[in-house]
């Protein structure tokens, strides 16, 4: 059964794909690492929305499919820890390369 045009699955899935495309473009376009960290987060957000759209589609009873929800919660937490570590490493790299203080 293919999705009909007014289902939330299609809208939010398309938004997720759009975010993935924008994130990829920004990731490839920008050279500074801070911009790339933002792009990476947007890319991850798009993937999560895609998963969430599929979860909504497999809904039963009153709520959506809990398995993709658990995956997305895990993904959000891992994504924030990766961002924190990436910022720390990027700052340290900048200091080492240019020799200026914080």
């Amino acid at each position: 059964m293919i999705a009909e045009l007014s289902s939330p699955f299609l809208l939010y899935g398309a938004v997720g794909c759009l975010l993935i495309g924008m994130g990829l473009y920004s990731l490839a376009l920008h050279t500074h690492v801070y911009r790339r960290i933002l792009a990476w987060n947007a890319l991850g957000g798009g993937v999560f929305l895609f998963l969430g759209a599929i979860a909504k589609r497999n809904a039963y009873g009153g709520s959506s499919d809990p398995l993709p929800q658990a995956l997305v919660i895990t993904g959000i937490v891992v994504s924030v820890s990766a961002t924190a570590l990436a910022l720390a490493i990027a700052r340290r790299l900048q200091t080492e390369e240019r020799g200026n203080g914080a």
């Binding site: 909504k56 709520s63 997305v72 990766a82 924190a84």
Partner: protein, 323 residues
């Protein structure tokens, strides 16, 4: 259960894409960061529309709130590279990167139409086992019981990231080698500047945050909530205190910090070892006390997560005396 999109969905989606556009392609990095926070909060609203309340809470607390705090703290410390390559900005290269991204985007969107609505086998299984799982809420049961192994490793990832951030932060010493001990703060103190606005906000919000965080931990057993959201709220309380105090009072390498950081991971480990020794499989809770086991694991995880978020924020501050 909403099965059709409404005007609200369309407006939300348009604003979300707009905020993401400004976040990714805005000229000024600071305004891009602010738009990123706006994008995170709008994502939380989108999750509510997708009937995923736990994810909405996690995205609002952790995705928008904590990531925003980290990014705002970090954006002022980055500078433009002196020899920034202008190569990337030529129109031809931009066009080809754009075309490739559009191709990927089109392919993914086309796949949306191909995904058949198969009846996923998971929801009936969850419904059948929910009574024995120890939690009345499907997402909590999924996170802490059916897929507890994933949660265990996720807390492991948090632990690794916090330890790595501490190492990078601690070893960073801008003073020359001979005077290494000169600028090191021997015992960081919490200096609350009491008439400042951040402290006024912190002293109102701190009790509220701890109360709501604790309530969220309890709610997780039968309603949206759970360890991550609760840990994020309590972590936010600590971060507010850091913002108001002007200097981080965390002793990052102390035994107390390290043991609290690893409390979540090790309690999962103990539970798994206990289950194995009692003759079952890894992380197989006894059905009678599954609820208590889940609550104990969630409490340990909450403390760990709160401290991890605090440590990550502390490591994103500049080292040494405040500029």
């Amino acid at each position: 259960m909403r099965d059709r999109i409404e005007i609200y969905d369309v407006l939300l989606v348009v604003t979300l894409i707009g905020a993401a556009w400004r976040a990714l392609f805005g000229k000024d990095a600071f305004s891009a960061t602010v738009f990123f926070i706006v994008y995170g909060l709008l994502m939380a609203m989108a999750w509510v529309q997708l009937d995923a309340i736990d994810v909405a809470l996690a995205e609002a607390c952790v995705g928008a709130g904590l990531t925003g705090a980290l990014l705002i703290g970090a954006v002022r410390q980055f500078e433009r590279a002196p020899g920034a390559r202008a190569l990337r900005r030529t129109m031809g290269l931009r066009a080809s990167i754009g075309a490739l991204s559009l191709l990927a985007l089109a392919g993914l969107t086309a796949s949306l139409f191909e995904i058949e609505n198969r009846r996923s086998p998971v929801p009936p299984l969850v419904e059948r086992s929910l009574g024995d799982s120890g939690s009345a809420h499907p997402v909590t049961a999924m996170l802490l019981n059916f897929r507890a192994f994933d949660t265990w490793l996720e807390i492991g990832v948090l632990l690794i990231a916090s330890l790595a951030a501490i190492s990078i932060h601690r070893l960073y010493d801008p003073s020359p080698i001979e005077g290494r001990a000169s600028t090191a703060p021997t015992r960081p103190r919490l200096q609350i500047q009491s008439q400042t606005q951040p402290w006024i906000m912190a002293r109102t919000l701190l009790p509220l945050l701890i109360l709501v965080g604790g309530a969220m931990l309890w709610f997780g057993s039968h309603a949206p909530g759970g360890a991550f959201q609760s840990g994020a709220l309590i972590g936010a309380a600590g971060i507010l205190l850091q913002i108001a105090g002007g200097r981080s009072a965390l002793r990052l390498s102390s035994l107390r910090t390290r043991s609290l950081l690893s409390l979540g991971f090790s309690s999962f480990w103990l539970m798994a070892a206990g289950a194995l020794l009692a003759g079952g499989r890894i992380l197989e809770y006894p059905p009678a006390s599954a609820g208590a086991a889940i609550l104990a694991l969630e409490a340990a995880a909450t403390l760990s997560i709160a401290l991890t978020l605090n440590v990550m924020y502390a490591c994103s501050r500049p080292w040494g005396p405040e500029p």
